[in-house]
Assembly symmetry: C2
Homo-oligomer: 354 residues x 2
C-alpha cells in the first residue's frame, strides 16, 4: 500500500531529491565513493554547497548584501544565536505559539524582550505597534503546532527576523524586508540536520558580548559555511529539492499548488459534519492544516485514526497541545495525497452519520 506522508517534519521531500540522495550515498558524483564518506573540502562537495547557495539566491530573489549559510544544530540553535548576535538591549517577539515561545525564552537570556500576543494561538496578532527602540522584531511565519501562518512580509521600522522553518520556498517573499530569515530545513527542503540562515551582513558585528566562534554568524560567513565540517548529506538533498522547485516553476508555482491543496482540504473540513477546523481565515496555514472532531463526535477520534491508517494516511496525529489531526501539506506532498485524505474523511462521515 502506498504511504501518504503527512508528517509535520521531518517530512515528505520530492521523489527526485530522495532518489538522487540514495544514489549519491552509493556513488557520489562518479567518484566511486559514498556521499557519506567524501571530504567536505573535495571539489565535488564544494560544488554542491556553491550551487545550493546560488539556487537559494535565485529562487528567493535574494538581493545583494545578504549571505546564505547552511549550519548544524537546527532552528533551536538559532533561537540562541539571534539574540547573541543581534540584541544590544531589547527585542520584540511576536508570540504565535510554541516555537515563538521557545525563541523568546532564549532571547530573554540576553536582554529585555517585549512580547506581542494575539487573543490566542489560533489567531495571528494584528494591528500592533512595533517598539522603534528595539534592536529587532522576531516572527515565526508558520506555526506547525497551531496551524496558523503569517503571509505578509511585515513593514517593520526595525530589523525583521523570521523563523521560516516550515514555509520557506512555499511562496514568494520580499527578502529585502528582512534582516534575517532562518529555519530548520527538515520541512520543505532537506532531511533533518541542517538549518539555513539568510542574513543581511551589514547588521552583524554590532554587539559587545562574548560569542563563541561557532555561534557567530561572521565565522560561518567568512568560511562559506565550511568553518567546520557541515552536514553534507542534508545539504546535498537540499540542493536536489531546490533543483526540483526550479524545475516545477519556482516559488510562485509552489504557492499555487499549496493554495489548491489547502483549499481542497479546508473545504472538506468546513463542509464535513464530523470534523471542524481549529483556525479561522485569514490565519489558516497552507502548510499545516489542523482539524478536530466536532464536539458530538469527540469519542470517534481513535476510530478515525485507525480508519486513516488503514488507508495509508500517515502522520496525521495532531500535536498533543491541540489534539485532533494535522495534515502537513508541504511542497512535495502530492495533491493525490490530499485527495486521499479528503476521500477518507467523506467515507468516515458516511460511516458515522447514517
Amino acid at each position: 500500500m502506498k504511504a501518504h506522508n503527512f508528517y509535520a517534519g521531518p517530512s515528505i521531500l520530492p521523489k527526485s531529491a530522495v532518489k538522487a540522495t540514495a544514489k549519491a550515498i552509493k556513488n557520489f558524483a562518479n567518484t566511486g565513493m559514498s556521499l557519506a564518506s567524501i571530504s567536505h573540502r573535495s571539489k565535488e562537495f564544494e560544488a554542491v554547497v556553491n550551487e545550493a547557495v546560488a539556487l537559494f539566491k535565485e529562487l528567493l530573489n535574494i538581493p545583494e548584501g545578504y549571505e546564505v549559510l547552511f549550519l548544524g544544530g537546527g532552528a533551536s540553535m538559532q533561537f540562541a544565536m539571534i539574540p547573541m548576535n543581534l540584541m544590544k538591549k531589547k527585542s520584540v517577539y511576536v508570540n504565535t505559539g510554541v516555537w515563538s515561545t521557545k525563541a523568546m525564552k532564549e532571547a530573554k537570556l540576553f536582554g529585555e524582550v517585549v512580547e506581542v500576543k494575539g487573543e490566542d494561538f489560533y489567531h495571528i496578532p494584528k494591528g500592533y505597534s512595533i517598539d522603534p527602540e528595539a534592536d529587532y522584531i522576531h516572527v515565526t511565519t508558520n506555526n506547525t503546532i497551531y496551524g496558523t501562518e503569517i503571509f505578509e512580509d511585515i513593514n517593520s521600522p526595525i530589523p525583521l527576523v523570521a523563523d521560516m522553518s516550515s514555509d520557506i520556498f512555499s511562496r514568494p517573499i520580499d527578502v529585502s524586508k528582512y534582516a534575517l530569515i532562518y529555519g530548520g530545513a527538515q520541512k520543505n527542503l532537506a532531511p533533518a540536520g541542517v538549518s539555513f540562515v539568510i542574513v543581511k551582513s551589514e547588521l552583524l558585528g554590532k554587539v559587545d558580548r562574548v560569542i563563541p566562534s561557532m555561534l557567530k554568524y561572521e565565522t560561518h560567513i567568512k568560511d562559506g559555511s565550511m568553518y567546520n565540517t557541515p552536514p553534507c548529506i542534508p545539504i546535498f538533498t537540499a540542493l536536489q529539492t531546490l533543483k526540483w522547485i526550479k524545475k516545477e516553476g519556482g516559488v510562485e508555482a509552489m504557492q499555487k499548488k499549496a493554495q489548491k491543496k489547502a483549499e481542497l482540504l479546508y473545504n472538506e473540513i468546513d463542509k464535513n459534519k464530523v470534523f471542524k477546523a481549529t483556525v479561522a481565515d485569514p490565519d489558516r496555514s497552507l502548510m499545516n492544516i489542523c482539524f478536530v472532531m466536532k464536539d458530538e463526535y469527540k469519542d470517534k477520534e481513535a476510530e478515525f485514526s485507525k480508519f486513516a491508517a488503514e488507508r495509508g494516511l500517515i502522520g496525521l496525529k495532531g500535536h498533543r497541545l491541540v489534539g485532533g489531526f494535522r495534515a502537513s501539506t508541504y511542497n512535495a506532498l502530492p495533491k493525490a495525497s490530499v485527495k486521499a485524505l479528503v476521500k477518507a474523511m467523506q467515507e468516515f462521515e458516511k460511516q458515522i452519520i447514517k
Copy 2:
C-alpha cells in the same frame, strides 16, 4: 577503477552501513517512506536512537552514571559547550595541535586556561603535572593534522575531558577515567552532521553562568537527544556502523586491525628511500599516518600525488600545515587499501631511484 578512500573526514564507512543507509533513504524500516522524510518521533526512528545508545554503551563498556547523547553542530560546538557547562574558573588544555588550540580558544572566553604543551606538535607532551585546582583537563586523543595520538587513559586528579573525534571505537578505553568524551562522528562512525557526547551526569549543573537551552547538556539528557529534531540520517548510519563493529569483534578487533594496517604503512615509510615519517614512536597515530618526501626528493611531491591518483588512491594530500601526505586508516579502511598504497610507494621508489 576502485577508489581507495584515505580522506581524513568525512571518511570511509563500512560498506554495510553505507548500503543500509542508501536502502533506508528509499524505504525506511518497511514504512514505505524515506528515512529523510520520517518523523523523529515515529516509533521506528525512536528505536534507532535507543539501539544506537545501547550499542555505544555495550561496545565501549560505559559504566552506570554516564549518558550518551547525539547532537548537531559538530565537535566545534562542543569546544564551546564544554567550558560553558564545566568550567567554574579554570581549566587545563593539553595542546597537541590545531584542534586542541581551537578548543582552548573557546575555553578562554569563559575562564582561565592553563596550557600544557610538548616540544612541538609532532610529539605528545609527557610528564606534566595537572593543576588540581582546575575544573577539568582537556585532551585531544588523536590529532588528525599532525598525526599523533594519545593512547593512554590518563590518570587525572581532576575531571578528564577528551575529544575522540577521530579515534573513538578504534581501541578499548576505560570510560570510568573520563568525565566527558566527545567527537564529531564523521570519522569512525557516521556521515557528517552528528556529534556524540558521553558524559558523567553528576558533573553537570554546577556552574552559575547563563547557558542557552541548546548548549546545556542537561537539556539533551532530559529529552534523550530529542529536545529538537536530531540529525536522523547520520544517527541511523552510526547505528549501522556500531552493528558492524560488534559483528567484527568489537573495539578489541578494531584495535588489532588498526595496529596491523599502521605497522604495514609505517614500516614502508621508514624503509622507503623516497619518503619519511613526520612523527616518531611512541606518538604515531594509528588513524592518520603522515609522511613527507625526504629532503632530496622534495620536488617529486606533485609527481607522487599524480602517481597515487592514477592508482585510485584518493584523499592522500597532507594538511597544508604539515604538507606531504596523510593516509587516514580509520576502522572501515580495508587492509587492501593500505597494501595498494604501500605497493604504489614501492613502485614510485623504483621509478625515482634507478
